[in-house]
Amino acid sequence: MKKELSTNEFIKIIIAICDNVEKEKDYLSELDRATGDGDHGVTMSIGWSAVKEKVSTLENNFTFDKICMQIASSFLSAVGASAGPLYATALMRGGAKLKDLTVINSSQLSEFFDAAANGIQDRGKANLGDKTMLDVWLPTAKKIKDISSSTDNIIEILEQGSLTANEKMLSTKDMLSKKGRSSKLGERSRGHIDPGAASSALIFKTFYEATQNL
């Protein structure tokens, strides 16, 4: 049972995400070679490496919103690409919901993910079913919101979120791409998992596992 998350714990989770992205970068690039230009793993590795460097310099008294802003801008500056604006907007919008806080509860965590998912939608202008990371973010954020109305156990909430993210990531395999470079493939985009959905599911999985291991 875990009811609260501190900024120090959040930074440990972020570092775990950096490490897992680094481990999975070849897999992410391989997915991207099937439907895109093959660089998603490289992009994620460059971005999260910059984040890892950044969090080691953050002051101890930083609040959630400040940490999120710092992480977002270092990620964005390092990568650009599509992933940069999308993940940076997610972090900035999510962080804005946690203004001046150093400890958050389950419903605040749920608001964080909800705002992050909406930020991705605003920035990328994709719709559900377009075969993008949004197909993971929207349903996962909704699941987290639903579960957090019946429990305040952060670990349970994140576990359900991680399961949903994984399931939704797999569901992008049969979708027809309607956004980004892969949209030009038409029917040939089917049969491949969307790389952005895969990196998003990896983040939810790591968020859960790292929280459990705190």
């Binding site: 690039s29 093959g38 964005l76 500056s77 690409a81 599509s82 980004g180």
Partner: protein, 337 residues
């Protein structure tokens, strides 16, 4: 299948430093023409920027397409370029730095190929610059006819047609036109520019050294994108004349009765000039046969895709408004017009 004996070899140091080291090399080699904006190694501008009372032309995109985009910075063309990682859009930072460095008081036009990542980053940068009262407008290049049908022209990718669209806008800005006029002419140039390409072999990212796509030993792919995006048709490799005829058939479908063009035969990275000129020869013959006048021709590497083997043909349809802009003198680091 991809032949393991053909493993990619590159003259690099650290794959994560290739872009920074390339840009340093370019600015060192052409220090008479180029400088960094705000010491940002991903923002390169004309040495004499900002030019007072001139619309600033800012181009950009991922690395790996050299001479696009840095090579287009110079008098009569772009005032600055924002540079991303390999095949990835630049982030808003260098776009903002370059915008401020080239703003001569008449605003700045952003021009780049139509890709989702570039749009998000350039739009974020445009919002930031507008907050600082720099007027910014955007014109996207959408010349690749293989990527979407004509009725969805605005969804097409930007490929080698960048050259013509940037050239026209650069000339218009150089003549002292206002931001709205520069944009109108750039959009017109984009409407008049059509490209189609063929790929014979993949490139590889320096970080992975994996082929960006797979073709059989004796296979080619028509309409493949400049980042290895899949094309419209894979088939056995044909002769230069057959390939050129197939590309030109598609391009001529969109001529709209135009009778005068400029021709660009562009190499994608490892196709020799010999082969590009063999394609040009056939292109010339086809245009003659269709009674289309060739105003000018460009053969060489203008928008590449690392070491991809392949080529594209671009036509820009010319009228009395575009022709003098195309003819206007240009001086940039990697080529002259």
């Amino acid at each position: 299948m991809f032949n393991v004996d053909m493993a990619f070899k590159k003259i690099i140091n650290d794959p994560y430093q290739v872009v920074d080291e390339m840009v340093e090399g370019i600015v060192l080699a052409h220090s008479d023409l180029l400088k960094f904006a705000n010491n940002n190694k991903r923002a390169v501008v004309r040495k004499d920027a900002p030019i007072k009372n001139k619309v600033g032309v800012l181009i950009g995109g991922g690395s790996g397409h050299e001479p696009a985009f840095l090579g287009y910075v110079g008098k009569g063309l772009a005032d600055g370029a924002a540079i991303g990682n390999v095949f990835a859009s630049p982030s808003p930072d260098p776009i903002v730095d370059a915008t401020k460095a080239i703003n001569g008081g008449k605003g700045v036009v952003y021009m780049y190929g139509n890709y989702a990542g570039d749009i998000m980053n350039f739009d974020m940068a445009a919002e930031m610059c507008q907050m600082e009262d720099i007027p910014v407008k955007t014109v996207l290049v959408t010349d690749d006819i293989a990527s979407s049908p004509l009725e969805k022209k605005s969804e097409r990718r930007g490929v080698a047609g960048d050259f013509y669209v940037f050239k026209i806008a650069g000339a218009a800005a150089d003549m002292g036109m206002e931001l709205d006029d520069v944009c109108r002419l750039a959009e017109k140039a984009n409407d008049m520019t059509i490209s189609m390409g063929v790929a014979l072999g993949p490139c590889s990212l320096p970080h992975t050294l994996e082929p960006s796509f797979v073709l059989e030993d004796n296979e080619m792919e028509i309409g493949l994108g400049i980042h290895g995006e899949a094309g419209v048709r894979k088939g056995p490799l044909q002769s230069a004349d057959e390939i050129t005829t197939e590309l030109m058939d598609k391009i001529l479908n969109e001529m709209d009765g135009s009778k005068k063009v400029s021709v660009l035969v562009n190499g994608l990275g490892s196709t020799p000039l010999m082969e590009l000129y063999i394609m040009y020869r056939k292109t010339y013959e086809i245009l003659k046969k269709n009674q289309i006048e060739i105003h000018s021709s460009f053969v060489g590497e203008y928008v590449t895709s690392l070491e991809m083997n392949g080529a594209s043909i671009t036509l820009m349809k010319l009228d009395d408004e575009l022709q003098p802009l195309l003819e206007r003198e240009t001086l940039c680091s990697m080529f002259r017009v």
